[in-house]
Amino acid sequence: MAKKPRVKVPKKAKSGEIVQIKTLMSHKMETGNRKNKKTGELIPRKIINKFVCTFNGKEVLSADIHPSVAANPYMAFYAKATESGTFNFEWTEDGGKKVTAKSDITVS
């Protein structure tokens, strides 16, 4: 069952207004320190190591994520609304797999 990332951006904003953006990504965030209880082998690390948010192609926020971030990472941040457009969100997993989401905003 594929779980979808959740993103919350206000649909409308006034020009110059500071808006809050919330994201919640569903991920196991395997640390790489746990062992398989039966075989004793290390379970390989699999975490989201990068998160990037862009607005109309311009970077708004980029974060490198390391181990010890809990499962299902939640991120909230602020941006200044100057023009209408689309927020694109991208999470990169160990191994290079990417998950994306987008959300539109109308600025008046």
Binding site: M1, K3, K4, R6, M29, A71, N72, A76
Partner: protein
């Protein structure tokens, strides 16, 4: 001397009163939410930051997903407006079912609908789909009081559940009552004991880093007192669920709750 006598008897009466109120279901009962730290409460209060809603979303998606040989989805029979149909439905579970003479938890009912009506494969108790669907259904009754019936044919199941609750078990020789009726609000090592109410399940537990069922919590509790746990969905746990839910009758549903 006289005064001391009065004080002791008064204290005795108070103590008895406290035990009596703890045993009878009271709508003012504190839930796990009240015992949680403010950070955890804040996580639960905001529907967006509450990670339990990832699973609620899965349930919502499953509602209209066609599965099985009958070519049906939940929405085929119950309609597309899940909220209108489900509002208040889950508060009466576990429920006695006359057809097979058994007590059914919500998860049993979901699997019954899947295997009998949809001719689909039953979901595993702890699978994301099952947790999601159960969380989704219970979430539609959020804020409504739990209201299970223990009259008539459900009575023997309730009695068995109560017996389980009061029965000492495991290497530590402890019953559920020893903690959850006798010492709610008191610390057990680093954790605060709660009254053990089931109104927030399936709950997102920070320890599990995912949503889990009430029966998974039972297993954890049983393991902690060094007792052999039963299986999820077993008769023992379903009876216990009935007893617990009756204890919490009148308490508002919080699903999906966030707990430590």
């Amino acid at each position: 001397m006289k005064y001391t006598k009065y004080i002791t008897s008064a204290a005795g009466l108070l103590g008895l009163g406290a035990i009596l109120t703890a045993c009878s279901p009271a709508p003012t009962m504190k839930t796990g939410y009240d015992y949680a730290i403010p950070e955890t409460q804040a996580m639960q209060d905001d529907d967006f930051s509450n990670p339990g809603f990832i699973w609620v979303q899965i349930g919502e998606d499953q509602w209209s997903t066609v599965d099985g040989e009958a070519g049906k989805s939940c929405a085929s029979c119950h309609g597309d407006d899940a909220t209108a149909f489900l509002k208040g439905k889950s508060t009466s579970y576990p429920k006695f079912n006359a057809a097979d003479g058994k007590l059914r938890a919500l998860q049993h009912q979901i699997n019954f609908e899947r295997t009998e009506r949809m001719k689909a494969k039953a979901w595993k108790w702890e699978s994301d789909e099952m947790l999601g669907m159960a969380a989704f259904i219970k979430n539609q009754s959020k804020g409504m009081p739990l209201n299970v019936s223990i009259k008539g044919e459900a009575a023997p199941f309730f009695d068995k559940g109560k017996e389980f609750y009061m029965q000492r078990r495991g290497g530590l020789d402890m019953s559920c009552k020893n903690c959850h009726i006798d010492y709610p609000g008191v610390k057990i090592r680093a954790n605060v004991l709660t009254s053990g109410l089931p109104n927030g399940f399936p709950t997102y537990r920070l320890k599990w880093q995912k949503v889990g069922s009430l029966h998974r919590r039972f297993r954890g509790c049983n393991k902690n007192v060094r007792a052999t746990p039963y299986k999820q969905g077993s008769d023992e746990y379903t009876n216990l669920e009935l007893y617990l839910t009756h204890r919490a009758n009148g308490v508002a549903v919080e699903t999906p709750a966030v707990r430590n």
